[in-house]
Amino acid sequence: MTSLKPVHFLNGILSLALIAAFSSRAGAQDVPDVGPHPPQPLKAMESHIGNLTGHSKDAASDYRRYCAGCHGELGDGQGENTVWLDPKPRDFTMATFKCRSTPTGTLPTDEDLFNTIGRGLTNSNMPIWNTFTRQQRADLVAYIKTFSPRWEKEKPGDPIKIPAEPAVTMESISHGKYLFTKLECWKCHGPQGKGDGPSAATLTDSKDNPIRPYNFAAGKDDSRFKCGSTNEDIYKIFITGVDGTPMPSFGDVIQPNDAWDLVHFLRTLQVNRHGKENEILKAAGWKIPTYVEKQSSTNPAPANQTTGGGN
């Protein structure tokens, strides 16, 4: 039997102490923080939309009246109706927003949220709240910002720059179709843009809820996209991405002119819509000629360049 030397003794004590320390830390992670949590007072926030200043304290009643049923009193997307809704309401505590003018991963501008409230979100239960006054909407934007500490720690991203739209031509449509294939948009949105691509059934949002890709073909003249209805809105959607969904940002992989070409092609997938794109396609007998790949784009700047102004 070996004797217990002092160095071994110290080693043993040290080891036990380390084990005890890690054990207690592990135990603290396993045991939830039980007991009532006192409601945290909401930090007053402001929003700035043009010359309007919104105050969170002025929106408490409106939020409860119009929003809390879906988004929850705590803004966590757990209102009493959430279980019945598809897609699920936004969880404001994550401060992840689909419709932004800012690069992926960044906070939206106040104006982005302001516009979303007034525009509503198609393919969801979010109504068009354009019955509010501008002041009400600005106040609600400020109120939404109280739910996440991100709004205190981070600034919104700089809005992306949207170059002027070039003319719609058969060539741009043809190139857009080429990009639609090359960028594998069809895998989710389907070859005809019906939202029935091979990956469509497997898609989930950032909270693991099933989510469907946009069906371009279902729309008519009054069709809207998730984040708007104009060509600029479509451009913005795939440059900024739709955060919280599988729709990524293509800002780093596509040139502005290419992005516009893709917009022009996507419009042709809206077969029931009357527009310049479909007029050109109709004149060509509904056939899009095969695009012959060129050497490079004329504009080397990345599409996700920002104005640098910020908010």
Binding site: N81, N123, W129, T131, T133
Partner: protein
């Protein structure tokens, strides 16, 4: 909802009928009437919105609720068509109201004592029962059907309409056909008060004493067709309706060929921190029959044979003024005018049975004039929270010209200038203990006091009051 006939009764109070019968009828109407309201949790269930999203306090619509209604019960997204709903979804809501109330009516004619006394009664009671069903048949095809009963389960169709929404893709063109509520900005069908006299807008039902024109009651649902339009955000609205002059009664039982029109328009303004304020106007004008073919005697009119159309009109302004999140004021004014023939009691079939001269070539007594009046109502609300609202109302109607004016040579003689004037006061509150998208429940408390000039059996004034408490719920 019940079609209130109180005004029709009121006009006969002094002279035409035994007063006890009138009083009993009045009490019956008060006891049997259900509140006129359309609140449909079925819509909330469909869209997953709380009642408070569409209702300032249900059933009264707020601006968003008005837009939803104007869009044909659609929020204008891809979920409007019923194909999106679970097949088990059934857009039906029922509403009935258990209440306790105390009704006190002054100067009722009785056989005992001095012949006139105040009758006060109280007790537990029920309203009628409403079955609301409405929504979309397909995107931009909407409907509403409302069978309604009195407390004894005698049913009628209060609303039956189908609507083509957003014709040619434009919100400015919506066509409705059937029996429907007129486009009253301050809707009586969504009134927040429930007592017999406070549960209606007197302006919407006013008929001068002895007047025979029941057809100008713009608070009653009417049969006809309506073209309605609005801007994308509903700030600007208009409507034009062509109606059968029948006060909503089916079966072509009145005029052989009588039509009326109802027109309304309004504009809302963004008033910043005050809210969205709205002003507008309305006008109802038309023709109604005065004489009838008879069979079996002069008091046996043949339904649908009414001829001798005479004109009438009602017009006024409407204002909805919001003063921040808690306080608002609703205002309606009215100027009304009936042809002199109506002033002498011609018009309604019932009046024919009361022995009106129905012979061709009849002339009105000397001094017969076209009755006219002016009225206004103010209805302030204090919305403490989406769950608690305090309501007040002051309504007054003043005759500006009596049918039997100075020099009237008929048997009744000239009328006092204030005969039939009305002042009506209502206060109350509604407390909703919960707010969900599944059902509505309100603890309702209300007091109403009505004053009428010169309509008692002795020609003096009448005061009527009612205290009401109840549980107002729908599911």
């Amino acid at each position: 909802m019940h079609v209130w006939r109180q005004s029709r009764i009121r006009k006969k109070l002094p002279f035409a009928m035994p007063f006890l019968t009138v009083a009993m009828a009045l009490i019956f109407v008060i006891l049997s009437a259900s509140p006129a309201a359309n609140a449909l949790p079925a819509f909330a269930r469909k869209y997953g919105l709380r009642c408070s999203a569409c209702h300032e306090s249900w059933p009264m619509l707020n601006y968003f609720g008005q837009k939803f209604k104007d869009n044909g019960y659609q929020i204008m997204n891809d979920r409007d068509a019923p194909i999106w709903q679970n097949p088990s979804y059934w857009p039906v809501t029922f509403r009935i109201l258990p209440i306790w109330h105390r009704v006190s009516t002054g100067k009722v004619a009785v056989d005992q004592g001095s012949g006139v006394t105040r009758i006060t009664s109280s007790g537990f009671d029920l309203s009628g029962l409403d079955f609301h069903t409405g929504g979309t048949l397909e995107k931009n095809f909407s409907f509403y059907v409302l069978p309604s009963s009195d407390p004894n389960a005698s049913f009628h169709f209060e609303t039956v309409m189908a609507r083509l929404d957003n014709l040619f893709g434009s919100p400015w063109l919506n066509l409705k056909l059937g029996k429907f509520e007129l486009d009253n900005l301050l809707s009586e069908k969504r009134i927040l008060t429930l007592t017999g006299n406070g549960g209606i807008y007197q302006l919407y039902h006013f008929i001068p004493v002895n007047d025979g024109n029941i057809f100008g009651q713009m608070g009653d649902n009417q049969l006809g067709v309506e073209l309605m339009g609005h801007s994308y955000n509903d700030r600007t609205r208009y409507s034009a309706a062509l109606l059968s002059t029948s006060d909503g009664a089916p079966g072509l039982i009145y005029g052989a060929n009588s039509y009326s029109g109802f027109f309304a328009a309004s504009q809302a303004f963004d008033a910043g921190k005050m809210g969205v304020d709205r002003i507008g106007f309305y006008a109802m004008l038309g023709q109604a029959p005065t004489t009838w073919l008879t069979a079996g005697g002069p008091n046996m009119p043949i339904g649908g044979s009414g001829i001798g159309n005479k004109s009438y009109h009602r017009e006024g302004f409407v204002g909805q003024f919001y003063f921040g999140q808690h306080l608002d004021l609703q205002v309606v004014t009215q100027h009304g005018w009936d042809n002199a023939w109506f002033g002498q009691g011609y018009g309604d079939l019932v009046d024919q049975l009361n022995g009106q001269n129905n012979a061709p070539g009849t002339v009105l007594p000397v001094g017969s004039r076209a009755p006219s009046w002016n009225g206004v109502l103010f209805e302030p609300h204090y919305v403490y929270s989406p769950q608690l609202i305090f309501i007040g109302r002051f309504e007054t109607i003043r005759m500006s010209q009596q049918a039997n004016g100075a020099g009237y040579a008929g048997p009744a003689g000239p009328s006092a200038s204030n005969l039939g004037n009305i002042s009506d006061y209502t206060i109350g509150f509604r407390y909703n203990p919960f707010m969900t998208s599944r059902a509505g429940f309100a603890w309702h408390n209300e007091y109403n006091w009505l004053h009428q000039d010169g309509t008692s059996p002795t020609g003096t004034n009448i005061n009527t009051s009612e205290l009401l408490m109840g549980f107002d719920f729908d599911f």
